[in-house]
Structure formats: structure tokens, C-alpha cells
Amino acid sequence: MLAVLSLFALVGALVATLYGASSLMAIARRATDVMPFESGMLPQQHAASRYHARWYAITILFLAFDMEMIFMYPWAVVLADMGVGAVVEMFGFLAVLLVGVVYVWREGALRWT
């Protein structure tokens, strides 16, 4: 705990040092204020807009599947003590989710819109 905290502090200090070193060594201390790069043209609109992610359907599948990780890590630890029953239960659980994956795949939701 303390070890992680000190590592965090150390690397934080390292990052701060790099910023400090940069402000000492950099040819110009102030950041140059530029227009966003748009391959030689000036941008016509703000890029930070309502970005249309093409894979939003996959996120639902992902989140549902991801939830089950909470169970699977502890499951790995106790597997040896629990025996065959735990294997059957966990993979039965996963099999149900994989049926969901097959359904999603057939509906084409794994492809971008």
C-alpha cells in the first residue's frame, strides 16, 4: 500500500521534473498557440462535436460480458478447492453469454454502422 503510494509519488515527481526540465531546456518556454492541424487547411468547425461512434452496438455486449469478469478472477483463485462443480458452473455461465455473442454476430452488430 505504502509502496504503491510512494511509487505513485515518485513517478508523479518524475513527470513534474520532466515538465520542469522542459521549461528550462525548451527553446521557448511558452507553448505556441496554433490552430488544430487539418492537413494544411484551417479548420472550419470545432472538431469536438457530437462524435458519431460507429460501434456503439458492441459496447452493450462488451459491458455485459465485462461484468462477468468480477466473478471470474475470484473463481480462478478458488477453483482448485471447489473442484469440477465450479468449472461446470462458470463455463455454463460463459456458454450462455456466448450464445448472446452468436446472436449479436448474426444480427451484424459486431460490424460498424
Binding site: 462535436s49 452493450i60 465485462d66 473463481w75 446472436y103 444480427e107 459486431l110 460490424r111
Partner: protein, 193 residues
């Protein structure tokens, strides 16, 4: 109860607790969807830090892991569907400020009164050597039924979410009789079908 904890732990819990509340408040103060989302993530990470201070490593780390991924995905949707994602225009994150303030104050009072008046049970059991193992034993043993129910629930979520989220289904891809050899998709994927 508190006496089990070292002074450092208590200090960490207090600081992180304040941070998490501050993050929660920031969600409603900032006027950008991206900042609101990541203020919420900061709040969750502070909670993970509290759990870590209590030496509940697995819960702490899994909180950080899940919440980061979920907030990143939430950011996608917040920015996709909400107005003014970057906060470049002036806007406010709250509606019905008076009513919600009242509701919030009442809920706060109820909870605080509850916390200080309930006769909390005192933990008699020894702290486990390995809380991850204990969690695994609970999940695979006495709480297996819960897990199975969650499995079915997640399956239903996948199906329902996909049906609701997608405008196209298999009949659009393979034709009315599902006879097409290759699906008709706007962007091809990595597999032939």
C-alpha cells in the same frame, strides 16, 4: 471499529472521501459532457482508493478497472447524444434546481440520521488473510444462485440492448429469406460473414 485502523489509513480515507464527494459535485458544476464524465470517474477512483486504504485490494482494483472502462464508454454516449459535448457553449448541467436541491437535502438528512442512529453490528470475525479468495468462495458457494441469475440477466441485456440499439438486423443483411451468401453491410468486418 475505527481503532483497527492506523492514523494514516484514516487520513487517507478522509482525504479520498472528500475527493470523491468533490468529484461528484463537479459532475454538476462543469458545463462539458466530457468533463462531467471524467469528474465522475475521478470520484469513482477516489472510492477505489478508499477501498484500497481498507486493504480490500480486489474490490478496489476491480472498481477502478470497471469504472474506468464504463466511464470511457459512457463518455462515448454522452458526447454522442447530449448537446454541447465540449462545453464550448454556456450551458448548465442541472434542471429543476430548487426541487432537486430539496430532494438532495432531504435524502442527505435521512441518510445521516440513519447512519448515526442505526445500531451497526460489530464485526466479530477475523479479517480474512485473503479477501479475494473469500470472495471467490462466496460466489462459487453460497451465492451461486445469484450469479446464475445475473448470467441470465446479462444474456437478456445483450439481446434486448442489441435489438434496441441496431437499426439493421439479419433480414436486412442476408435478405428476407436469409439466403444471401455475403451480408450487405455498410462497413465490412473481419470475417466473410
Amino acid at each position: 471499529m475505527l481503532t483497527d485502523l492506523s492514523g494514516w489509513t484514516i487520513a487517507a480515507v478522509v482525504v479520498l472521501g472528500v475527493l470523491s464527494v468533490a468529484g461528484g459535485i463537479a459532475v454538476f458544476v462543469v458545463d462539458s459532457m466530457a468533463r462531467a464524465t471524467f469528474a465522475l470517474l475521478a470520484s469513482f477512483l477516489a472510492v477505489a482508493g478508499v477501498l484500497l486504504a481498507f486493504d480490500l485490494v480486489y474490490l478496489a482494483v476491480v472498481t477502478a478497472l470497471m469504472m474506468t472502462i464504463e466511464m470511457a464508454i459512457m463518455a462515448v454516449f454522452m458526447i454522442m447524444f447530449m448537446m454541447n459535448p465540449a462545453g464550448l457553449m454556456p450551458m448548465t448541467m442541472v434542471h429543476n434546481a430548487r426541487g432537486s436541491a430539496l430532494t438532495g437535502a432531504v435524502a442527505f438528512v435521512v441518510l445521516v440520521v440513519g447512519i448515526w442512529t442505526v445500531d451497526w453490528p460489530i464485526g466479530r470475525t477475523e479479517r480474512p488473510e485473503d479477501s479475494t479468495r473469500q470472495l471467490g468462495e462466496a460466489i462459487m458457494g453460497s451465492h451461486m444462485l445469484v450469479m446464475l441469475m445475473i448470467g441470465i440477466g446479462l444474456f437478456a441485456t445483450i439481446l434486448a440492448g442489441t435489438v434496441l440499439a441496431t437499426a439493421r438486423g439479419r433480414y436486412d443483411r442476408f435478405g428476407a429469406d436469409l439466403a444471401a451468401k455475403r451480408p450487405d453491410d455498410p462497413i465490412p468486418g473481419g470475417l466473410p460473414r
